[in-house]
């Protein structure tokens, strides 16, 4: 038993070490590094730049610049470094903030106006026993596009041509990062606008058909007409709501119920609906109106063109960290190339819903979360997709 314990301990220790090394490499914590001293110096520079980059990618903000400024000062080797946006001091690192901090904006002023680097001298501040007093400042503009949006200033006791060059270079590198930040922000805005544009496309056919169906009951069955009108009001309120881009599966199902009641008014007993929903996934957050278009599609393309009874099956299954949702009809089906057209959102395709939902799912969750369509002419259609139970930023 003693031997066995020893051997097992050894095995577990070995496994733990292997897992540890794997994990460290995985998360880039440990990598053997080699190289000459020149290599080392450029590695050092690149490393400092990489430390500053993520904070700058949030744009020219107080929080971001105050995180980035320390590596920038190390990079420049100056007594102090300041970043302003022309109106106020955003971040200061190093000596002399008490004396010079309030003047930083004034130092930046002419650079803001001219857009060219400048050296100011005769500051004469700071009698720190350890360091030399600050006498000069090299100020360089931070540019986005063609606009000067701020300044980077290096405070030193005496400037050299090398330092001026370095400040220039660092300034243009920071400008590059800030432009990327702007690009990020633009991209986010575009994606948001895209989702806003894509969301909630209530189909005009549906409005038209519903109102016609309701109208047909007004004389013969006024109570039914009233009920349907209320359902219609509820459904449109859901589709036109303003707050939030996300909903829960439970709410989406409720809306689909209203939608189907209206469709039943038209199809009568021809339309059967079967649901199998795992109660565990009712709370899953999903993009607003991404299931209803699939149901509408199943009703329209599965049943409208077909004689006799039709069944739409809605499934929502629990699959660990995911929820698997599918909508199936036993209608006329489609040719695969029609599906491809619909998914790519080509104009002229009357499966507007599919392409729209597919695109929104991919934008929000990532490309592996698009729609899967299984169909063939005469064999019905099954559209399914996956929703992760948790995704940062997705919350009903």
């Amino acid at each position: 038993m003693g031997d066995l314990t020893g051997a097992l301990t050894l095995a577990i220790a070995a496994a733990a070490v292997a897992v540890g090394v794997f994990g460290l490499r995985r998360f880039n914590v440990w990598r053997p590094d080699l190289g000459t001293s020149a290599d080392q110096a450029s590695f050092e520079t690149l490393h400092l730049a990489s430390l500053a980059a993520p904070s700058l990618r949030g744009g020219l903000t107080q929080a971001g610049t105050s995180r980035a400024i320390k590596p920038l000062r190390t990079l420049l080797g100056s007594t102090a470094v300041a970043i302003t946006d022309g109106q106020r001091l955003l971040a200061w690192d190093g000596e002399g903030q008490d004396e010079l901090g309030e003047h930083a904006v004034a130092h930046a002023q002419s650079v803001m106006d001219s857009g060219r680097s400048q050296v100011l001298d005769g500051l004469g501040v700071g009698d720190h026993p350890a360091g030399e007093p600050i006498r000069e400042v090299v100020v360089t503009p931070l540019v986005s596009g063609t606009t000067v949006i701020g300044t980077l200033a290096a405070y030193v006791s005496s400037s050299s041509a090398g330092l001026i060059r370095a400040v220039d270079e660092v300034g243009s590198w920071v400008s590059g990062q800030l432009e990327l930040a702007e690009l990020d922000a633009t991209r986010t805005r575009v994606a948001e606008a895209e989702v806003r544009a894509l969301r909630a496309q209530i189909s005009p056919h549906f409005i038209y058909n519903s109102l016609n169906a309701i109208a047909s009951f007004v004389r013969t069955d006024p109570d039914r007409a009233r009920e349907l009108l209320l359902e219609f009001a509820d459904f449109t309120r859901y589709t036109f709501r303003r707050s939030g881009d996300f909903t829960t599966l439970a709410d989406e199902l409720r809306a689909i119920n209203g939608y189907l009641l209206l469709e039943r008014a038209r199809f009568g007993e021809r339309l059967n609906v079967t649901l199998r929903v795992a109660p565990e996934v009712l709370a899953v957050s999903m993009p607003f109106l991404c299931l209803q278009p699939l149901v509408e599609n199943a009703v329209r393309h599965g049943l409208e063109t077909k004689d006799g009874q039709g069944t739409v099956t809605i499934l929502a299954e629990d699959a660990g960290a995911h929820c698997l949702i599918s909508v199936e009809d036993d209608g006329v089906g489609m040719a695969p190339e029609r599906v491809r057209e619909a998914l790519s959102g080509e104009p002229g395709s009357d499966h507007v819903g599919l392409g729209n939902v597919d695109e929104r799912l991919r934008t929000i969750f990532g490309d592996e979360y698009g729609l899967t369509v299984a169909t063939a002419p005469g064999a019905g259609t099954k559209v399914s997709f996956n929703v992760p139970k948790f995704q940062p930023g997705v919350h009903a």
Binding site: A11, D245, P392
Partner: protein
Amino acid sequence: MSQGYGIAAISIVVALTAIIGAFGLRISRTTSDFYVASRTVSPLWNASAIGGEYLSAASFLGVAGLILAYGADLLWLPVGFTGGYLIMLVLVAAPLRRSGAYTLPDFTELRLNSTRLRALASVLVVGICWLYLMPQFQGAGLTLRTVTGAPLWAGELIVAIVVVTTVAAGGMRSITFVQAFQYWLKVTAILLPAAFLFLSWHADDSPSLTRDSLPRFAVATTVTAPEDLQIRVTQPVVPRVTGVVDGLRYVGGVAPLAPGPHTVAEGTRLDFPAGAPVPVEENLPAATDEAWAQPLSGGREHSLYTTYSLIIATMLGTMGLPHILVRFYTNPDGGAARRTTLAVLALLGVFYLGPTLFGALGRIYAPDLLLTGRVDSVVLELPSRMVGGTGGDLLSALVTAGAFAAFLSTAAGLTMSAAAVLSQDVFRSRDVRTFQLAAVPATLIPFLFALIAGGIAVGDAVSLAFAVAASTFCPLLVLGVWWRRLSTVGAAAGMVVGGASAGAAVLATIIGGPYQGWTGALLAQPAAITVPAAFLVMIGVSLLTPRHVPSNIHRIMVRLHVPEGLGQEAGDFSR
């Protein structure tokens, strides 16, 4: 106990689990009615499911064994197991549900806005799952040994294989109603026999549990040493012996055992007369029944410290158990999460009456387990000893089935959690095959742990997992929910300090333990040191690094704390 019934019970449970795992139990809620389809799970069902997943080998076997050996102090174990839900109810249940997080790494990423911290949380989740799986395997091993006499590793291997197969085959795990059924099966399997035992004790003129004497054999008893035993005699006793005691061979002769340590060779038969005081295995305390029933005198070293440490570990560790949190996702909102937690408190409270009764009655009716040191099997042994006949056999079979169901359901839930994290965060794949493969390391490591850690009682082993959970996720969750100045650096530092210190103590106990004296107490019950340490580090480092507080903290706090349905602006997908 009759072998036949026991083996039949185990086979049925294993077969059912395998079948459900392989084919998936589709309790199909097929309907054409939207109101039926979108009906949420009621808090009581949800609470039952949590109970089903939570009640493990430690609850089913370990609690009774530890109470039998150590008495009143260990009542804190079931109290802590249950009380953890009270802490959860008050501090984290509703905000956690409102966060929308499905797993602990999800919450970490959401609250601190950092994928690196998510990675750290994932590592801890896997570690806690492994530690918690170990006692499940141990419990399975000793159940099979009690029933069939098979060696410990055989049962451990069987459960490991069944669990890997079930999980890899897809698993029934997340179906609430199956888990809820598991709870009711376990409650029946422990409370029904307990009721019979209680009646039997009553019919026996209710012998006192608090006599001022050592435990005594109620009737003439034959004990066969299952392995080489080191025992301690406090009052002289004269058994008839067939075999080897203290190196001397006896063939049915009397062997007077004087107070002091003695050795009994494997296979030796000891015949004790009725009323003889019971010698105890050397690691267990030889306390009088009166002392056993008193707090802090039951005979563990440094019992005041270990008791507090145990309370801290169990009460604060519950919220950090990976397989429990995922159940809360089924609640529709924060309010339902609170109601569910409240129901869990009641359900667990009812369940733990059973093991406590088993432990106490074992003191009278199965004191020889103190001699062999196999106190963990008291739940399995007691029904056949006290009731006897076919009735006793059937009750034993019921208990055995319940115990096996307990290991399988808890072990499968834990393996699922560990495999999910391994496949998603370590192997970086959403592929089903990766998930299935990840089930193998998820099970293999704790199986090896279980082989090594033979000497640790099941109930103690599970408290190790609680200690690690309490030292890492408890500070993260409590501070994350209630303190807006928590920074990413602070959270990471606290989790690393808590996880490393508690983890080191736990591994030392598993691999080298049990230790004696203060070392042993600190290593086996590290929570009283490591939990405050983790809290202090997390708070201190956060205060020192105010720049690393997530920038969207106010938005997150609103999401965690504002009740649903107030129409607050919901999150949008970009930040």
